[in-house]
């Protein structure tokens, strides 16, 4: 597409628009996510954050606009293929496989690269080699004591943690996290925030998050959406001083 694709920009949206039966949820959004950064998407409810998210991961088809991943146009690519290319998302509402154990949840993600996923004649035992790696990931999100429990039995916050572990299992280049901290207790928030920071070291993260203090602490760049449009963009210090953002999002009383 571009004569000289900017190596720095790993994920890009151009003129992204989504209409739902005449209602424009996302309007002409241009977004650039730089490699190796944590990029946060914030905005009032209904601003279109989740929609942008779904568009980027192809769970929704854009009405107009273009999405580029590593310079390649992925506007027409199927969701599963996006994931194969290293662009992996999490969900706003906890997304685990409730009646699989925690270990199996993670293993499902790990088994894909083996290429045996259609092999219905192979034994499950061929997957046992993955257990060590799975347990490592589970450890990383402090779920080790739960490894043998069904995911359904986990408290809400732990499910979010499991979801992150599963996402990590794919070793994605870009992780898209939709409100990863929502529903977590204080004790988990800090741990998970630290985890995100840690895993972001060698990859790119784009996240939607309401918890401003975390966003402030974690993110390199913040994009503020309002009514489907980008209102402001930049590091926290800049965005948080923007009057419009204060009005639309943080409230006008801001000093």
């Amino acid at each position: 597409m571009n004569a000289a694709p900017n190596d720095d920009i790993i994920l890009e949206a151009r003129g992204l628009t989504k209409e739902f039966k005449g209602f424009v949820a996302v309007k002409e959004v241009n977004l650039q996510v730089r490699r190796g950064t944590i990029h946060a998407l914030i905005g009032p409810n209904g601003a279109g954050k989740s929609t942008v998210f779904n568009l980027l991961t192809k769970f929704l088809t854009p009405t107009r606009g273009q999405i580029l991943y590593k310079g390649r146009d992925i506007t027409r690519t199927k969701p599963a293929d996006i994931a194969l290319m290293g662009l992996v998302r999490s969900f706003q509402i906890s997304a685990v496989f409730p009646h699989l154990s925690v270990l199996e949840n993670v293993r499902v993600a790990l088994q894909r690269p083996l290429g045996t996923s259609f092999h219905f004649w192979k034994s499950e035992a061929t997957l046992y080699d993955l257990h060590d790696r799975a347990l490592e990931l589970i450890e990383a999100v402090n779920l080790s004591p739960w490894a043998n429990h069904l995911a359904a039995e986990l408290p809400y916050g732990r499910k979010r943690a499991l979801e992150i572990a599963t996402t990590l299992a794919l070793d994605p280049e870009v992780m898209l996290l939709d409100e990863p901290l929502a529903g977590m207790g204080h004790e988990d928030i800090e741990g998970t925030a630290a985890l995100i920071k840690r895993v972001a070291a060698d990859r790119t993260v784009l996240m939607v998050e309401h918890n401003l203090s975390v966003v402030a602490h974690l993110s390199d760049t913040i994009t503020v959406l309002r009514r489907g449009e980008i209102l402001a963009e930049g590091p926290y210090e800049v965005v948080s001083k923007n009057a419009q953002v204060m009005e639309a999002y943080m409230g006008t009383g801001h000093a």
């Binding site: 991961t57 769970f59 199927k78 969701p79 599963a80 293929d81 994931a83 194969l84 992996v88 998302r89 999490s90 969900f91 997304a95 685990v96 496989f97 409730p98 009646h99 699989l100 154990s101 270990l103 199996e104 949840n105 293993r107 499902v108 993600a109 088994q111 894909r112 083996l114 045996t116 996923s117 259609f118 092999h119 219905f120 004649w121 192979k122 034994s123 499950e124 035992a125 061929t126 997957l127 046992y128 080699d129 257990h131 060590d132 799975a134 347990l135 080790s144 004591p145 739960w146 490894a147 043998n148 429990h149 599963t166 794919l170």
Partner: protein, 333 residues
Amino acid sequence: MTAHTSAKTPAGGSGRSSAALTVRGSATGTALAAAGFLLVAGLAPYVLYPVFLMKVLCFALFACAFNLLIGYAGLLSFGHAAFFGGAAYIAAHTVKEWGWSPELGLLAATVVAAGLGLVFGLLAIRRQGIYFAMITLALSQMVFFLALQLPFTHGEDGIQAVPRGLLFGLFDLSQPLTMYYTVLAIFVGGFAIIWRTVHSPFGQVLKAIRENEPRAVSLGYRTERYKLLAFVLSASLAGLAGGTKAIVFQLASLTDVTWQMSGEVVLMTLLGGMGTLFGPVVGAALVVTLESYLAATSLPVPVVIGCIFVVCVLLFRRGIIGELLARMPKRGG
């Protein structure tokens, strides 16, 4: 989900490897149950009427095949009779009219059922839940009308007087016991395929899809293909069951392609326990027994069956085996 016996330690395993127990615990349980089953089934024809037992086995395989879809892929097909009954016609026709040997007839039946499954699957797999059920139902009705009208199926008459023939040119299937053990072997084979499928890398993905399809997609699985493969597998095995039934009863008829038959297999599975390996077997045995018992009484069979259906749906959605498993002591932790 039973014992904690750890038969084998997974690679690199230490204390932590207990994580694998979930899976292999249930595997041991299943193996025990399977051994028990084989013992009983092996001796049964000396006590019970073999034709009755063969009917049970055919339906049990049919129900297991159906269960592969509903229990492990979360897809309710309301048109499985098309594969069961359709394959019965193929087996009957190839064996009777073309003079094929029974094993070739069964192979043909299975292959045709697989092809039919592929067509159904391609059309239906894009929709979920009730839509999927409705579409499979309507498609199977199409097969029903084809069976009614195509010349080779002989309409209401069905294909009659199908010779049982010599299996592999060696075993005379007109001997009741030879036929019985052949059916038993087919059932065990089919069941083994299902068991393996459920406990395979593929089965894992299937379960994941059933549990949370969008999440599976986000992990990079093209879920439609997995569902399609599951559908085709299920259809093939349903076809194998139907073909076997045709050989046993020496007849292929419309009864097996009606939508009531599709409903019956749902009932068997629901009654025994969806998503449990042995549930459909138990369900099929119960329903077949019940039907033949009721036929001799003045009680209206469909009413009784309907009542069981309603009671299951309202009160025991887990089915017999499902309830049993749920009552067993839970895994530790």
